[in-house]
Symmetry: C2
Subunit: 163 residues, 2 copies
DNA sequence: ACAAGTAGTCAATCAACTTGACTAATACCT
DNA sequence: AGGTATTAGTCAAGTTGATTGACTACTTGT
């Protein structure tokens, strides 16, 4: 006897996707699967690198250029006190260096070390490469269709964030 | 004087996207933005509902049907002991009920309450609605192009998870 | 019927966050 | 200029959500 034998009160929900009565087109299903998979990337990469998610996200931002702990706190949506701890741990592992800011002596600049940059990129580059590869096969016309779809999907998702 | 005035040592990295020397097509940029935005949905929704991310993910799975704490632990990739705590907190707030399993007396079945189901769906339905709306405008030919792109993108991203 | 495995929980501990207090430096104001 | 408010960063203490390891209850396989 299966574990899902009795549904008693539940009035026949659709098997896949819990949004009853919603048209599940193939594109929407594919989109949902993409988003689900993408959501697992950060935890996995962080785990492999022996970092917390916060530390990884901080490093991702630091790859783009140096910022201070305060900016890190804003990007991660944590308190500045928490950012201090995150930077402490990154610095202890040699992933970032604290430097005094050139002009504002209240500030600290966080500089990612070359080894940390390489470690993060080594994890992510294969994905970017694979994405670029499949992307390259689009012709100009399809490219426009896909771009429009992605932009509109992003907008639809963004709505939930601001509501 | 701006805070980002001096770049000193950084040898002219591209302004957007830290993957130097990579072709950043419009579709790839749009895809990356979509994934970035999508990654912010769960934390935002969890925060609004006064739940931890783990609790929200557990509820999302419970919407599909009842499972036990062990299955929750597997889905969240936490220990079964942690799952006990998650279920405790959900039960304390009236979001789930523990029921004895019909046949296996070691097991507990977790049943989501109607109020919890409604709360989660109320947060997510607007997004699904917006996505379905924009999706509905695709014609059959474009639909195929987009679906193929999404499937291949998902596959590319998935590679990173198994490597 | 007995050994091994499975489901769930409890107790103790750990790690990352929060709040609130504090120092130091800069910006604003009149 | 001088005094007040603001900003950047850190520290200390407490909270929370996870972990490990031990334990009970039940089921499965031989």
């Amino acid at each position: 006897m299966s574990a899902r034998d009795k549904a008693e009160d539940a009035p026949a929900r659709p098997a896949s996707g819990f949004v009853a009565g919603w048209s599940q087109t193939a594109t929407l299903v594919a989109l949902r699967e993409l988003l689900d998979i993408a959501a697992r990337v950060r935890p996995t990469v962080a785990d492999r690198a022996g970092l917390t998610q916060s530390e990884l996200v901080a490093l991702e931002h630091l790859i783009k250029g140096p910022v201070g702990p305060g900016e890190v706190a804003r990007q991660l949506q944590v308190t500045s006190a928490a950012a201090t701890g995150i930077v402490d741990r990154l610095a202890a592992r040699g992933h970032v260096e604290r430097r005094p800011h050139a002009t504002d002596r209240r500030r600290t600049e966080l500089v990612i070390t070359e080894s940390a940059r390489e470690e993060v990129l080594a994890q992510l580059l294969p994905m970017f490469r694979a994405l670029a590869e499949m992307d390259a096969e689009l012709d100009a016309r399809d490219r426009e269709v896909v771009e429009r779809y992605l932009r509109r999907a992003a907008e639809a998702v963004r709505q939930v964030l601001v509501t």
